[in-house]
């Protein structure tokens, strides 16, 4: 019978294996916690209502212009940004200041208009979606969405605030996402 018991090397090996397993468990735990926290910022009720009003606001102008560009294949998606005047047509001079105020007050970072078959888009394999696919927060949000019906579009708003709810900076920035469905 072997009466030597554990030798020093064996103790170290066992401890290292334990340590490695624990590190894996801990990293999995932390990443699932982060994912849960991130998902709290998806379709938050307050942001959903803001997005609802934003979609109504833009729809009262010439959103068909953008939807038709996507439908006809002229563009794969559309971005609405500060200073984009073609949606407002001749009303831009009236709306420019109000739109800027709305954009800044709600901490809007981006507004995307995409076809509602987002599961394909979220794979980021198709060319032409570099801007969307470079936004990892957006891609992980798209992965949470179900595909919509044919000929419908998703109006997706990304809000970005600091931890305290103010303007975000590079190191202190949290993205909220919500969407509305639009029809051409």
């Amino acid at each position: 019978m072997n009466k030597k018991g554990f030798v020093f090397v064996e103790t170290i090996i066992v401890t290292c294996v334990l340590l490695a397993s624990l590190m894996v468990v801990y990293s999995l735990y932390v990443s699932s916690l982060n994912s849960e926290t991130r998902q709290l910022r998806y379709d938050d009720p307050a942001r959903l209502y803001q997005t609802y009003y934003l979609e109504k606001y833009f729809n009262s102008f010439d959103m068909d212009l953008l939807l038709n560009r996507i439908s006809s294949g002229t563009s794969k998606y559309e971005l609405i940004y500060q200073g984009r005047s073609d949606i407002f047509g001749s009303s831009y001079s009236e709306e420019a200041l109000f739109f800027d105020s709305l954009w800044n007050h709600l901490h809007i970072k981006n507004i995307y208009l995409v076809k509602s078959n987002v599961s394909e888009l979220a794979k980021c394999k198709e060319k032409g979606y570099e801007v969307i696919c470079s936004n990892q927060n957006l891609v992980s949000y798209l992965r949470n969405l179900d595909d919509g019906e044919a000929n419908t579009f998703y109006f997706i708003v990304e809000y970005a605030t600091s931890r305290s709810g103010g303007n975000c900076t590079n190191i202190d920035c949290f993205s909220y996402f919500s969407y509305m469905t639009m029809e051409a």
Binding site: K3, K4, V7, F8, T11, I12, T15, C16, L18, L19, L22, M23, V25, Y26, Y29, L33, L40, R41, D44, P45, A46, Y49, Q50, Y53, L54, K56, Y57, S93, E94, E95, L97, F98, F99, S101, L102, H105, L106, T161, R163, S164, G165, F174
Partner: protein, 200 residues
């Protein structure tokens, strides 16, 4: 057979390594204990928050909101045909005596920050239409004030009515009731109401 046993250095190294493992385990347990203690309250608050927002926002959608005012935690919503109040205390929101919601926390360390409730009203953002003298004769030819029939100076221009200015036909209201936990901002629990509509 080696009968020397384990030396003191080897024991110390082994104990050191096991301590590292125990440290990880202990941290994991502490984190899980914290999550367990707070998750039930956090979920309760998220459900209540969603209910408050839904109830008030449905009124915004159905009752034609005209104005919002905040007076030390008593927020008054003026609709076309009635007025409703939302009373905010440290841990409770009472909507017009119809619905009451409480803010839950383990050590009563989560409260509404009444002093920092913000009500933003953005009404028409107007810029004066520029009067243009196209032929250089000193009289207005484009965007003219019909009552004045001339080039307006800045004082006269600022006194113009909406019809002589570039104004959005929309306005918006935004109410934020901040929530603090252990005296730190807890933005994810903040109660927010938003309304965007045409100016009445």
């Amino acid at each position: 057979m080696n009968k020397r046993g384990i030396t003191l250095v080897e024991v110390i190294i082994s104990v050191g390594l096991i301590s590292v493992v125990m440290l990880f385990l202990f941290r994991l347990l502490l984190d899980m204990q914290f999550e367990d203690a707070h998750t039930s309250y956090a979920k309760e608050n998220q459900v209540n928050r969603a209910m408050i927002i839904k109830t008030v926002q449905e009124d915004f959608l159905n009752k034609h909101l005209q104005n919002i005012q905040n007076n030390s935690g008593v927020i008054t919503f003026t609709f076309q045909e009635q007025t409703k109040t939302l009373k905010v205390t440290n841990t409770q929101i009472d909507y017009n005596g119809e619905e009451v919601w409480n803010l839950e926390s383990k050590n009563n360390d989560t409260t509404f920050d009444i002093a920092h409730i913000s009500v933003t009203k953005k009404d028409a953002t107007c810029t004066p239409r520029l009067n243009v003298d196209t032929n250089g004769d000193g009289t207005c030819d484009v965007n003219c004030d019909t009552n004045h029939n001339g080039i307006l100076d800045s004082t006269e221009r600022s006194a113009q009515s909406d019809s002589y200015q570039n104004c959005s036909k929309y306005n918006y209201f935004h109410v934020v009731i901040p929530v603090v936990t252990e005296e730190k901002e807890n933005v994810i629990d903040d109660i927010e109401f938003f309304f965007l509509g045409t100016r009445s």
